[in-house]
Amino acid sequence: MTTETVTPHRSPLTPERESFWYLVHAEWTKFRTVRGWVIAAGVTIVAITAFAFLGADASSSCTGGNGASGACPAQPTGPGGVPVQDVFYFAHQPVTGNGTITAAVTSLTGQILTGASQLAPGGLQPWSKAGIIIKESTSQGSAYAAMMVTGSHGVRMQWDYVNDTPGLAGSVSASSPRWLRLVRTGGTITGYDSADGTHWMLVGTATLPGLTSTVQAGLFAAGSSDSFSTMATGVFRHIGLSWPATGWTGTNIGGSANATGTPLPGTLRQSAGTITVASFGDISPATGSGQSLQRALAGTFFGLIPLIVVAAMFMTAEYRRGLIWVSLTAAPRRGRLLAAKATVIGAVGFAAGLVAATLALAVGTPLLLRAGPLAWPVSLLTEARMVAGTGALLAVAAVLALAIGTIVRRSAPAVAIVIVVIFVPYLLAFGPLAGQGGTGGGGWELRITPAAALSVQQAVPRFYQLIANYPLNSGYYPLAPWAGLAAECAWAAAALALAYYLLRRRDA
């Protein structure tokens, strides 16, 4: 008689079941079969979209974040509709067709306004400038390209207000003049500089689309908008034009009264072989005075709450229901379980953010435009960054909540921690840390906390060549868009690492 040995059934361990994506599929099934969680993800999308109506509903066109309202001040705009400061003294002559203008700058000095019309030496600003310029017309905001010496940034080529590229470094003096040259070929203007007038180096090439055949070429000076009470004086020698010379005309671009920020008109002095131009003002981008498109995404906070709750519960519910034992039996490699959960909840957050931000911008943009102009024209690329950034912000917040949920294993504290670290720094920046005038904080609290990620939605640009007050309540964050998102990612990565360590070390 033989005894039959009964082998207990074991399902074969197929390669598919070993794969990570099998685990991801299992976690996705857990997510989509809990009705409340799917509803919460939907609420995230609805909340962000719905709030676009409220955030973008401006009653007056020039309302800043601090509640100040009134008529929009006349803001000159440059090519592409960007708000600009275009106030300077221009010694110019009309020129037609292709050609070259050359000049040597032998001195750039500053004077500061002390009384009603009293000037004292000094006060040269880092971006005080003087040089040669080819400009479409003498009206504010017209296209231009210029080569210039600056207070402390060496030789620069700048064009169409927002573009800047460096040339020779160092400051200018009679013993080390800076030779500047602009060459016009159709719609392209090329800038060169030289220390001796013989050896020329290419600085940059500007393309000015639609530049008229007849333009104004000449010399300029601008004191800088860092301090509109600074007058810059440039001394030019060896001025040469390849076009037929017609004599210099002096024009105060933007007017000479102090309504534009210039307390006194600029001056032009000509003596044997030397021209001196002195002026207040600036040629630069401006921070703009309309609304930021970011207002359309103001509902992000509303959408974050249900997402954070679900993301934390995605892990804490396993502990509460004892499902964690089944999960860890099925996937004994605990790190992979955590990674699979992070993948699923991150993907849910990203998809929700992508859909919600697209809808919010679609709804909010026309509402904002109906109320008044945007502070800055927003390119398609910037809009794409705002949409993708919102998706990433939500995805990383969800992963952070999952990681904190794994660490503390209880839903209420996990949800509270994540909401606090994202919401409270932002509230403090607008509340107790808003500082003088209440324009918004924007120091450490929006640099080192996960709340820094909100900068990925910033719709207004910052320019290093424009030293200005960039207030938080006008939509300027202290960190660059992707740097802010990186700060949130760093927190999520640290939390995930701790969660991995604890999940492996601890008894479930």
Partner: protein, 269 residues
């Protein structure tokens, strides 16, 4: 054979309920951690905010009490967790069935819960706010909050009102959380709801461009209304007077407790 007669109803149901709830409260580690968290966060964040503040001129218009009490922003989340868990833990562990069997008078049970929560939160809030105010008093004069800039004393009657307002605010938030948790029954959803109610009003007020709407949001939200009770300068320009602000918070709390009580009484546990 006769069944044993049911035990006589306890003579002091409220006292016994309080004793039972107090025993539950003191025999688990969680609440003491939360109370320590309230004190630590209030003082630490207040000290950091005070160190970050600057007052460069007499017109800076920064409220020193608001800066010192910045820690209330995160600390109220800890208070909310304490309030939510007081009820949420009963539901998540199934203890609620036992509790309501032992104490069939549900409102008595809720009252006992609320009392046992209020006393420790109030006790923790006093040193928390006092510590933050003291830290502010030590740090702020070095940050430009000097008599020359119009900050003669940092211990005036208005500062006492601000401190009392902050303590009462934290206590009311604990009860608000308890009420909403009794209504929602799930800890995670309840904490999301409570923190949404607290934090979203000021965020919405910052985001809307209509100033009148923003002011209304600041009047009805419990967090901005509660902050009005902590103001010491520019009180006239606030959306609400300090005591009105605390009144709004109290209304929210009463509303949440009523909702919680109603649902607790009418629903199956």
């Amino acid at each position: 054979m006769s069944l044993t007669a049911p035990a006589a109803f306890p003579p002091h149901p409220v006292g016994q309920a309080l004793h039972a709830e107090w025993t539950k409260f003191r025999t688990v580690a969680g609440p003491s951690w939360l109370l320590a968290g309230i004190v630590t966060l209030t003082v630490a964040v207040g000290a950091v905010a005070a160190s970050a503040a600057h007052c460069q001129s007499a017109t800076c218009g920064i409220d020193p009490a608001t800066v010192s009490l910045s820690g209330i922003y995160p600390a109220q989340a800890v208070v909310a967790v304490a309030g939510v868990l007081a009820i949420g833990n009963e539901y998540s562990t199934g203890m609620i069935n036992l509790s309501l069997t032992a104490m069939p008078r549900r409102l008595t049970w809720l009252f006992a819960k609320a009392t046992v929560l209020t006393a420790p939160v109030l006790t923790a809030s006093v040193p928390a706010v006092a510590g933050a105010a003291l830290a502010g008093r030590l740090i702020l004069p070095g940050r430009g909050f000097t008599p020359a800039h119009g900050y003669a004393s940092l211990t005036a009657a208005t500062d006492l009102r601000a401190a009392a307002g902050a303590v009462l605010y934290l206590t009311l938030i604990a009860l608000l959380s308890l009420g909403l948790a009794a209504a929602v029954r799930d800890s995670a959803a309840a904490i999301g709801l409570v923190l949404g109610v607290l934090y979203l009003f000021p965020l919405a007020a910052d985001a809307v461009s209509n100033p009148a709407l923003a002011r209304h949001l600041d009047q009805i939200g419990p967090l901005p209304a509660g902050l009005d009770a902590q103001a010491t300068i520019g009180v006239k320009g606030l959306p609400l007077t300090p005591w009105q602000g605390l009144g709004v918070v109290a209304l929210w709390t009463v509303g949440a407790l009523l909702l919680g009580a109603l649902l607790l009484k009418s629903r199956d546990a």
